[in-house]
């Protein structure tokens, strides 16, 4: 188990070429469960491969517990890795698969047996220990891959590269729950690459959102939801994503198509200093209906979808499309709704970056 430090880390595949990973400085705590989240090609797999030692970064260092491992090979870093599709040794039994990393490290045979039993129990593989690995289902095979990472007690970190891609949907959440259980029991450092926000948000203590080789935000799922540091984070997380509308500043109010929206004064001050093009952002879940007599903004309703406990209203303010999620009990007037944007949830973005408190650009 280790604390992973990325020290001024950056990577370009060709010298002088474009950055595949922009320079970054992060510390991932020992025992934390981190998810690297982002669309395909955002560099998350490159980052994972740098941590696992398959790719040598062109700049900066990787430190495990303060020890520079940048130039160490994969086998010397003592990590576990679970790949997109199950990687198992077909001709071996499940037991032999799990024992393989230990036997290669010349561990005593009675320790190997004991340890494999423990891990198998943890992953509910005990029943199939003596079966050949190739005859098992994909999710059982994936558990074997995971088991091979966990079987070494001194493993620095276990890395996951979209491990649930080939798993049937109804088994995905079981396996994910298994992962959480394992994490709680062993307190390992886990790094989990995915492009699926649900996976990331349910799995990780901290989510690292990436776009185009850059880390946009590192935060707890709640932070990502309540205070996205970048408009992309707002779009990408949540369903539907955050509403953004271009605006201008006027004192403590934002002007969107002439409508006035109240802003937190500190944010307004920061925004007036930051310059750049401003956008106002609010989560569909955090806007609310105006009470009777309360002033509100008029939303023209285009479509209402029933989502069970909620209803999703799609409408527009002036020329801007806007989503709002309301409780099922709310009655919707098909002409229009009067909405209130609570000041604490109304955020401002200057050149795509969050303005004001809690809006640290890099985590």
């Amino acid at each position: 188990m280790a604390r992973i430090e990325l020290n001024n880390l950056a990577h370009r595949y060709a010298p002088g070429g474009e950055y595949a990973l922009q320079p970054m400085q992060h510390v991932w705590e020992d025992g934390g469960a981190y998810a690297l989240l982002g669309p395909s090609g955002c560099g998350k797999t490159t980052l994972l491969n740098i941590i696992s030692g398959l790719v040598q970064p062109s700049e900066g260092q990787v430190l495990f517990d303060g020890v520079d491992v940048t130039h160490r090979s994969t086998e010397e870093r003592n990590i576990g890795q679970v790949f997109q599709f199950p990687v198992v040794y077909d001709t071996m039994t499940v037991f032999q698969n799990l024992a393989f990393p230990l036997r290669n490290r010349k561990m005593a045979e009675d320790y190997v047996t004991r340890r494999v039993q423990q891990v198998a129990e943890m992953l509910s593989l005990t029943d199939v220990l003596n079966r050949r690995a190739r005859n098992l289902t994909a999710d059982a095979k994936q558990k074997i891959s995971l088991g091979r990472g966990l079987v070494r007690e001194d493993v620095s970190a276990v890395l996951f590269d979209e491990p649930l891609t080939v798993i049937d949907p109804h088994l995905k959440w079981q396996l994910r729950r298994k992962l959480r259980e394992v994490h709680e029991q062993l307190n390992l450092t886990l790094v989990y690459v995915t492009h699926d926000q649900t996976e990331a948000l349910t799995f990780a203590d901290k989510v690292v959102v990436m776009l185009a080789g850059q880390v946009l935000q590192v935060g707890t799922p709640q932070e990502l939801f309540e205070r996205p540091a970048h408009t992309f984070v707002g779009y990408f997380i949540g369903s539907p994503g955050m509403n953004f509308m271009p605006c201008e500043l006027s004192g403590n109010e934002a002007l969107v198509d002439g409508e006035r929206i109240a802003i937190d004064p500190a944010t307004a001050v920061a925004a007036s200093r930051s310059g750049g093009s401003l956008q106002l952002g609010i989560r569909p879940e955090l806007a609310r209906l105006a009470a009777d007599g309360e002033p509100g903004l008029l939303l023209k309703v285009d479509q209402v979808e029933d989502l069970g406990e909620h209803q999703l209203v799609t409408g527009h303010f002036g020329s801007h499309q806007f989503h709002v999620r309301l409780d099922e009990s709310e009655k919707i007037n098909s002409d229009g709704l009067r909405l209130v944007f609570p000041v604490e949830h109304t955020l401002l973005y200057a050149d795509e970056h969050l303005v004001g408190t809690g809006g640290a650009k890099h985590g």
Partner: protein, 297 residues
């Protein structure tokens, strides 16, 4: 995968059936007819199973058959491991990979009698590079007089000629192994040997069965290369089945016995290929069952 029952599929197979039957069934029937008769010019009379009795008890043919098996097993024992080894050595990508592929494949595309000629020119004691060099080194190398020399030369020639096929099949099999398996092996600190034994070799089983099948078949019908190189000699030490047969049928015009012998030959081939066929089919079935259980892979 589950196939659909569809009897009209026969129509799609029909052209193949007609063409192959024309070239296979009619001659085979004729051979059966020959095998029961004594044919002299235009006249022929029925002799029953006489030729079969004679052929099965012919010591020359019995030894040709034994020689054939000895040859086939020898070259399989050498070419399969050698082919795997070469496939492991070949570069994986880039122009070097292309160049090596082209160079290695070359012997496969040389007409079989030319293979014989190439090796004849190469191993002659007077004008051959190999033959001359070996003699210069002090060994009295002579494939026309020494049966061991002839055998070794034919086996080396066959290795030269056919190992590329095994190597290419294995190379292709190795290329289809996803990189993740090798990463996993490094993470698990598997030795080179363990990586080969537990990752590469299991993934090669399918292509290896094909390689063994093809190599067995072609080695069993080897004809032109030894015919050109040694003419079957010295004595009959390198006379394999096809050549014994051709000598009987063409040179001696013993149609009846050679036909009987052909049928025996064919029955051997049939039995061996059936075993291979059942093996391959069972492997595919197992794979299908495994995919059914294991979901997409």
């Amino acid at each position: 995968m589950d196939k659909r029952e569809y009897q009209w599929a026969w129509l799609m197979v029909l052209p193949v059936l007609v063409l192959v039957a024309f070239s296979a069934v009619i001659p085979l029937m004729t051979v059966v007819n020959y095998s029961l008769q004594d044919i002299l010019g235009r006249s022929s009379f029925f002799v029953g199973s006489e030729w079969f009795k004679e052929t099965l008890n012919n010591p020359r043919l019995q030894s040709a058959l034994l020689r054939q098996f000895a040859f086939s097993f020898t070259i399989l024992a050498i070419q399969i491991p050698l082919g795997i080894g070469i496939a492991l050595l070949m570069p994986k990508r880039g122009w070097q990979a292309s160049a090596v592929l082209i160079l290695i494949t070359m012997p496969l595309l040389v007409p079989w009698n030319v293979v014989g000629s190439i090796w004849q020119i190469f191993t002659r004691g007077d004008i051959g590079l190999a033959g001359f060099t070996i003699r210069e080194l002090g060994y009295d190398y002579n494939i026309t007089a020494n049966a061991v020399d002839a055998w070794v030369t034919i086996i080396i020639m066959d290795i030269w000629h056919w190992t590329p096929l095994v190597a290419l099949l294995c190379y292709s099999g190795l290329r289809s192994i996803p990189e993740a398996y090798f990463q996993a092996a490094r993470i698990d600190r598997a030795s080179k040997w363990a990586t080969f034994r537990y990752i590469q070799l299991p993934k090669l089983t399918n292509v290896l069965v094909i390689a063994v099948l093809l190599r067995f078949m072609h080695s069993f019908m080897i004809y032109a290369e030894p015919f050109v190189l040694t003419g079957g000699g010295p004595g009959s030490s390198t006379t394999f089945l096809s050549q014994s047969l051709a000598t009987m049928a063409i040179a001696q015009q013993d149609l009846g016995p050679s036909a009987a012998f052909s049928i025996i030959y064919f029955l051997i081939i049939l039995a061996v290929s059936y075993v291979f066929y059942v093996t391959i089919m069972n492997m595919q079935k197992e794979k299908a069952a495994q995919q059914g259980a294991g979901g997409a892979e």
